[in-house]
Assembly symmetry: C2
Homo-oligomer: 321 residues x 2
């Protein structure tokens, strides 16, 4: 749940005067989102999302995120489009926080994606990758392989309090992936966090992709690996190859994976599982007293990691031979 | 901040199938509200608010609240209108909670009302009282004079930890009001909690009244007294007679106060101040460890109570002689 910063209607109206977007007709804080404060703002010209960037988002990254949404929307991708102020600026300040206004996207996320949703998502992900190909800015992925050891250190020997032997499993996996992380794969803009709650559907068609605040420059196939983890496992931990096949076929219908990318997919999938295992572990060990937000279970990703370690080649994920 | 209950998109879609209101296009939890969980639901037919009633609302009161909104909307008052299911029922169950869907009202609340807002509010309050005159159901006001001593007892001798002498002040005031509470004033449906965050404005005109979950049957003039407390004091605690005059004139333009109501107004205003002082005191003394919601300051109402004790007659509030 997220409205960390209070904004008064009068403050908002003063802020809106900097935009050419009509007068305010409605204003509600939105409960979703964990990192930032979000408000649904309706004016005489339409619906918008106002985001106040809280402390977990680094201010120096904001031009990348905002510029990327603008670029992708300009290339026809259905994603939130930043609204420029009369001054031409997109980033502004409200209630002491950096703030931006983006267009509101209709659509509803799904919690139990079907194979059809996975196919749609795969196509959308590839479209995102193509649309981002000529985006000029770069942002390092701090949560890729070189970022995992610091995360593991942050868990500070407490992993075994979550599950016996977890520390050892992570240490082994981390060392293996540091040694063997793929090199030289096609790079570009990746979403890096395209979970089902960041994809909207209307009539089972993908209607939009949101939340670009982990986006960065990294292997495109790593983004595919993140999505296989996030979309193609069942609640009981089983990999659903029908969904994997649909996601990968959807992706390849728009952008073909190279042989090197295909060969790297199992390792990228292990890495993606380790990344979410580690961030969830750190969050799990650092829940503030009395917090309302229940942290996500790190062990979900331990199961996924174990699955990927047994995968020989990308066909096991459902990739067409 | 309030979304206490998680509702999945699939659960919501199944729930919506019981209504004749189109297909779901958007769904967001709303951060405002303290008692219940609220969601903004958009469908192909319009925008709605879905409310899940949490434990602080008694289930046996729901037919009164829902019936009242339906009645008032039917009389032309701009308030949320409950949407009936195909079955004809308005109350249903979702995620294990009683749930109802109401129409979405555009408008924005104000935090620093002007005299113009107060005039609008006074008119709206009187319209509410007239529209409610033929509403058949009754609900006792549990937070009127007979409910205050139990609240005081719940503070259990701890009032002085909030301000020295507060316990004695409340005890004296409570005894005085129990002795002298007005009798036989005109009764009817009152909102009982019409604070600025429960009134919406568009272009400085009242566009809607929301949150009927304290509504009950009580003296109409008591509702006026609640609004004088909630709308006509400045942040520094001073009573703004210009705002009071505007509110009372607005009210009387629609419904004239009787001589008995006018004479009772200072005492009703003292009672209203004591009611909010007591509920805020109890909340203040019972903040759960680590709570995100900061309780409202009870002492704001101690100041207001002191003001009312010095008031001789309703002209001091700005009532036309």
């Amino acid at each position: 749940m997220a409205v960390y910063t209070d904004v008064s209607p009068a403050e908002l109206e003063a802020f809106l005067a900097g935009y050419d977007m009509g007068t305010l007709t409605s204003f509600h804080g939105i409960a979703e989102g964990v990192e930032n404060s979000n408000f649904l703002v309706q004016t005489t010209t339409g619906s918008y999302i106002l985001t106040l960037y809280e402390k977990r988002v680094r201010r120096e990254d904001l031009p990348f995120f905002i510029g990327l949404m603008r670029h992708l929307a300009g290339r026809g991708l259905s994603c939130p489009e930043p609204v420029a102020r009369r001054s031409g600026e997109v980033l502004a300040e409200l209630a002491g926080r950096p703030a931006a206004m983006v267009t509101f996207l209709p659509g509803v996320s799904v919690r139990r994606p079907t194979a059809e949703h996975c196919a749609e998502l795969g196509r959308g992900l590839a479209q995102l990758h193509l649309a981002g190909a000529d985006f000029a800015m770069r942002r390092t992925n701090n949560l890729s392989v070189s970022g995992w050891r610091p995360l593991f250190n942050a868990a500070d020997g407490q992993a075994d309090t979550v599950a016996p032997g977890l520390g050892e499993t992570i240490a082994t996996e981390l060392a293996a992936l540091e040694q063997s992380w793929p090199k030289g794969l096609p790079e570009g803009v990746i979403h890096a966090d395209l979970f089902p709650d960041n994809a909207f559907f209307l009539d089972d068609k993908l209607s939009g992709i949101i939340d670009f605040y982990f986006a960065c420059t990294d292997y495109l196939a790593y983004d595919v690996a993140v999505c296989l983890n996030a979309w193609c496992f069942e609640p009981d931990g089983a990999y659903n190859i029908t969904k994997g096949r649909a996601l990968l076929a959807g992706y390849e219908a728009v952008r073909a994976l190279s042989d090197a990318e295909k060969a790297a997919l199992p390792r990228l999938a292990r890495g993606a599982a380790l990344r979410f295992l580690l961030t969830r572990l750190v969050d799990w060990l650092n829940v503030p007293e009395g917090a309302l937000v229940k942290p996500k279970d790190p062990l979900e990703y331990l199961k996924k990691l174990r699955f990927h370690r047994a995968v020989d080649n990308a066909q096991d994920y459902g990739l067409a031979a």
